[in-house]
């Protein structure tokens, strides 16, 4: 097999530590040696406080105990995202981590719902989603493993403190053999012939050489952008937001969902953790002055702020390739999509998990590199289209940004998706984010109800079908009513140990 690959990760933070932990967990030290360089002086962005259900798979795979991780990161459960004022002012819907309807009829469910609607039997599609109802009633329990049960029709993700998650992973990674070096990079040394990066010279003078460099330096993109000059593809004509103001507040309402509220020049997130609530305003500087945005954010808080708003600058888009020469960008160094659908950590996760099987030997195999880049491109583009959908389908008309977005030209691929859904309720399936239930909840939530529905929903008499819908609604309400509250569940499952327990711990030999 030869010498192990020397991998140098530049930057701690969520991306750096996720990559480091996965590499040392899935690969033996005979295959690779992992070093991570980070500086405590450089803060992490850490806005990725809300995650997607795939996060649980990642944690399971690297052998993380869920309760322990949640306790360490002050985490809570998340059943979806509530969108407030998005389609129209005063509207409210949840994009759940789950289907509408029962497990076996999910593919035809929304067609039945449209048929009922057309026959005059109006009901809110959200009443047929187990996850939405649980979220609305602030309940939580683990999904049932019985595939036929309505309680199996959802999955869940986490709200957590991303910087604590990095710390948590750092503990694991160092235990498993990652060598961490504290320091700032002074110079990046390249091979004059190949252009590959050979080593990082720290300000301390230490030189760290490697075969493969993973750029987790965040927005700065020290390797891909600053060193290799990989071009950036700008998507701001579709996703015009370019600023975020983040501010934590005291703990308020403890919802098992993220809330995204549309604002005068963008949208505001609200992410409840065990000890505080994360808030932020993602907005476009073309539509609001910075100081006005910060003030607007502070006014909107439902509890006392714990700090001054912190501002981030960005542009929607991505590097045309994530892997160039012997450098792979993961996380913000590879691109940025606003956290509207909590995809930041997901994008880190797929990059890490795609890199593992394609990890090079000492010499880079261009076939593996190209494949990695293709897969990452596909992920970015699909998420991009899904995000644009939220903006495009608004009918608010009360602020310039919303009028701009409603009128903007969108990618053809997205246009066709919208038109076919409008006409027939059809949602084409593909591998990867997001699946048809997600598209459905955003289409309908934003106010786009299909004009027609599949004939497959026309096969039973109308009264029977409506009775079926009604019964399902009742079942969901009853079953959700039997779940523990999210508050109780968290207190029982992963709240910090009581002071008494801590004392007992201390006096043990």
């Amino acid at each position: 097999m030869g010498e192990p690959l020397d991998i140098v990760i530049l930057g701690g933070g969520t991306a750096g530590w996720m990559a480091a932990t996965a590499l040392v967990t899935f690969l033996p030290s005979s295959r690779c040696r992992v070093r991570l360089v980070e500086s405590e002086e450089i803060g992490i962005v850490g806005v990725g406080e809300a995650t997607l259900p795939q996060m649980k798979n990642f944690n399971d795979a690297i052998g993380v105990n869920e309760a322990e991780m949640m306790r360490a990161t002050k985490g809570a459960f998340k059943l979806g995202i509530e969108f407030v004022d998005w389609g129209t002012k005063g509207s409210r819907y949840i994009h759940p981590f789950g289907a509408h309807g029962t497990a076996d009829t999910a593919h035809v469910f929304h067609h039945r719902w449209v048929r009922a609607l057309r026959s005059g039997w109006e009901s809110d599609i959200q009443e047929y989603s187990f996850a939405v109802q649980a979220a609305r009633m602030r309940r939580f329990n683990f999904p049932s493993t019985d595939q036929a049960a309505i309680e199996s029709t959802f999955s869940y993700a986490y709200h957590f403190d991303a910087s604590l998650y990095s710390v948590f992973l750092r503990g694991l990674a160092e235990q498993r053999g990652v060598i961490r070096t504290e320091g700032k990079v002074g110079e990046i040394v390249r091979d004059p012939q190949s252009g590959d990066v050979r080593s990082l010279t720290l300000e301390s003078g230490e030189s760290i050489t490697g075969d493969l460099f993973i750029d987790c330096s965040g927005f700065r993109s020290l390797l891909l952008d600053k060193t290799l000059g990989v071009a950036w593809e700008d998507w701001s004509k579709w996703l015009p937001c370019d600023r975020a103001f983040a501010v934590p507040s005291e703990r308020g309402e403890f919802t098992p969902f993220t809330r995204s509220t549309a604002m005068e020049a963008g949208w505001r997130w609200r992410i409840p953790l065990q000890h505080r609530t994360g808030n932020g305003y993602v907005c476009s500087s073309s539509f609001i002055k910075e100081e006005d945005a910060a003030a607007s954010l502070l006014r909107s808080l439902d509890a006392k702020p714990l700090a001054e708003p912190r501002m981030l600058r960005f542009q929607a888009g991505r590097r045309v390739v994530s892997w160039e020469k012997n450098c792979v960008a993961i996380g913000l160094a590879s691109g940025f999509l606003e956290p509207l659908e909590s995809t930041s950590i997901y994008l880190i996760q797929v990059a890490v998990l795609q890199l593992l099987p394609l990890l090079p030997m000492k010499r880079i195999d261009p076939r593996l590199r190209d494949e990695f880049n293709r897969l990452i491109d596909m992920e970015y583009e699909r998420i991009r289209d899904f995000l644009i959908l939220h903006y495009k389908l608004n009918t608010r008309g009360d602020a310039e940004i919303w009028r701009y977005c409603a009128a903007m030209e969108v990618p053809d691929s997205l246009n066709h998706k919208i038109e076919i859904f409008r006409h027939s309720g059809i949602i084409k399936r593909y591998h990867g984010l997001f699946s048809p239930p997600s598209w459905l909840s955003v289409f309908v939530g934003q106010g786009l109800v299909p004009e027609g529905y599949s004939r497959l929903a026309d096969t039973e008499p109308e009264d029977d079908m409506i009775a079926g819908l009604d019964a399902l609604r009742t079942t969901i309400r009853d079953k959700v009513g039997q779940m523990p509250s999210h508050d109780d569940f968290i207190a029982d499952y992963c709240a910090p140990e009581s002071p008494l327990a801590a004392v007992t711990e201390e006096v043990r030999p």
């Binding site: 005979s30 295959r31 076939r367 026309d458």
Partner: protein
């Protein structure tokens, strides 16, 4: 909004009946009425449909008892296809219909690649339950609690299958009429009506073109010309004949390459279907007919039929009120048992995309996109056999090796060669194990394996390889022979071991 209620299927043979039955079974209760205009059959007594295991899904959809296929269509269950004489160091190999193990963290390919690098001598095929069942002449039926799973496809007498489907379809209350087409009245990009030979003028909300490669309806509409795949699939003729029944019956079909194409032997209960696919620029029909017995290694009866082959896809497969299914939409070779699957797949997509409004068909674009995906994936699977041949020094085969393949296939070849992974696209028919066994069978060995394998202790890796081989052997022992499967006897549970009959064909 006026719904689509009147559907007219125009076509022939199995595809026409398959479409009509599926539409009525799925949408009859919703008020959709189907009528079949049955064009004269093009099937010959020698024709055979070689079908993938997924055909059982179609039977389930239309409520057709699978048993009937075995008892009335001279059918033989096949666990895979054996590729022979494709050249190079690679011996003949079997592409078996294994079922993927869901959620396996690492595919077996990686274990095998590593073990081979460490000196293992067993072929990849020895770890395929379906391939080993086929080699033992057995049928991989489902087994409770078994660790590996495999399944089987069908070699079906084409005429009796069409008759069976016709019978079942008419039993569903579908109107049918035998006719030929006098005229197709086109109005812009829709079909206004079809005029039959007796003068009847047929209108419909939706026409389903199941007329085969001719595309009698779709071909009349604008923008539907065929995009040829001939540069990658150079054969242009199919010759069909039959030979005597093989005894005992093998549970695999055999596909053998020869200097100007390939010849397939498809075992059936009453005969063996012999199909030659070749390049007429390299060998004339007459020469082909003469070579048939020696290539088939059996006497071939005198009835030999030749038809042209035009591999490719129509630029649009659904235009206005006319949707093309199966070979009316795209054509491939009678290889890898894809023929009925093409029709089946198109019908499934049509059911999911059934138009909601007569006169407006935005569903057409989605259908076209999906069918193009399905068809390109199948095409790539067929091309791989040609591309990876090792018949060096033969003009036809040298050219096949040298021709650049579509990007989608090149990517699979590259990533498999580099790492043993198969980058699947959306709407793939063949899953990872099918691609892997064909790549390896044709001699494309992965140069390395998934690095995550190294995290598994060496002795666990070895144990995995040994356990799998043992599981294959013991599971194969419990499978019934083909004869026992077709005509179950009391001893079915304890079927006797049949000798390997790999060399029989």
């Amino acid at each position: 909004m006026r719904p689509v209620n009147d559907v007219v299927v125009i076509g022939r043979d199995a595809p026409a009946w398959m479409a009509a039955a599926a539409i009525v079974r799925s949408l009859g209760a919703a008020g959709v009425k189907v009528r079949v205009i049955e064009l004269p059959s093009l099937l010959k007594a020698t024709d055979c449909y070689s079908a993938l295991p997924a055909l059982d899904g179609y039977h389930l959809r239309v409520g057709l008892n699978d048993r009937l296929v075995w008892t009335t269509c001279k059918a033989v269950p096949v666990a895979g296809q054996r590729f022979n004489c494709w050249g190079g160091a690679g011996a003949p190999f079997l592409h078996g219909y294994d079922r993927e193990i869901a959620d396996a963290p690492l595919e077996f390919t990686h274990f095998w690649t590593k073990a081979r690098q460490d000196g293992l001598r067993s072929e990849f095929e020895a770890f395929s339950l379906a391939a080993m069942a086929a080699r033992a002449g057995r049928v991989p039926v489902s087994q409770d609690g078994a660790s590996l799973r495999a399944t089987f496809g069908y070699n079906i007498d084409a005429r009796s299958y069409a008759v069976l489907l016709r019978h079942c379809t008419l039993g569903l209350g579908i109107g049918a009429k035998e006719a030929t087409l006098a005229d197709v009245e086109v109005d812009g990009d829709r079909i206004a009506a079809v005029v039959l030979d007796d003068g009847e003028r047929v209108e419909a909300d939706l026409f389903v073109d199941a007329s085969g490669p001719e595309g009698r309806l779709i071909g009349r509409l604008p923008g539907t010309e065929l995009e040829s795949w001939r540069e990658w699939l150079p054969c242009d003729r199919v010759m069909v004949a039959s030979a005597r029944t093989l005894q005992p019956l093998p549970s695999f079909s055999q596909i053998s390459a020869f200097a100007q194409g390939w010849i397939g032997l498809f075992p059936m209960q009453n005969r063996t279907s012999v199909v030659a696919v070749y390049d007429s620029r390299q060998i004339s029909d007459q020469e082909m007919a003469q070579s048939l017995p020696s290539l088939a290694r059996a006497p071939v009866n005198s009835e030999v039929a030749v038809s042209p082959l035009n591999q490719g896809i129509r630029r649009r497969c659904w235009v206005g009120n006319c949707v093309a299914i199966g070979e009316a939409a795209f054509s491939l070779e009678p290889l890898d048992a894809v023929q009925l699957h093409m029709t089946h797949n198109c019908i499934s997509q049509l059911m999911a995309l059934f138009p909601v409004e007569a006169g407006q068909f935005p569903e057409a674009q989605t259908y076209d996109d999906i069918i193009r995906c399905v068809a390109s994936n199948l095409r790539d699977f067929q091309i791989l056999h040609y591309k990876l041949n090792h018949r060096i020094g033969e003009l036809f085969w040298d050219r096949c090796r040298e021709t650049a393949v579509p990007e989608t296939l090149q990517r699979k070849l590259d990533i498999f060669a580099a790492r043993g992974h198969v980058p699947l696209n959306d709407f793939e028919t063949f899953q990872t194990s099918s691609w892997a066994s064909s790549f390896i069978g044709h001699g494309l060995m992965p140069q390395s394996f998934d690095p995550r394998l190294d995290a598994i202790e060496e002795r666990e890796q070895i144990a995995e390889v040994h356990l799998r081989m043992k599981a294959v052997i013991s599971q194969v022992e419990a499978f019934p022979s083909v004869e026992d499967f077709i005509a179950p006897t009391q001893q079915q549970g304890q079927a006797r071991a049949a000798p390997l009959r790999q060399e029989q064909l």
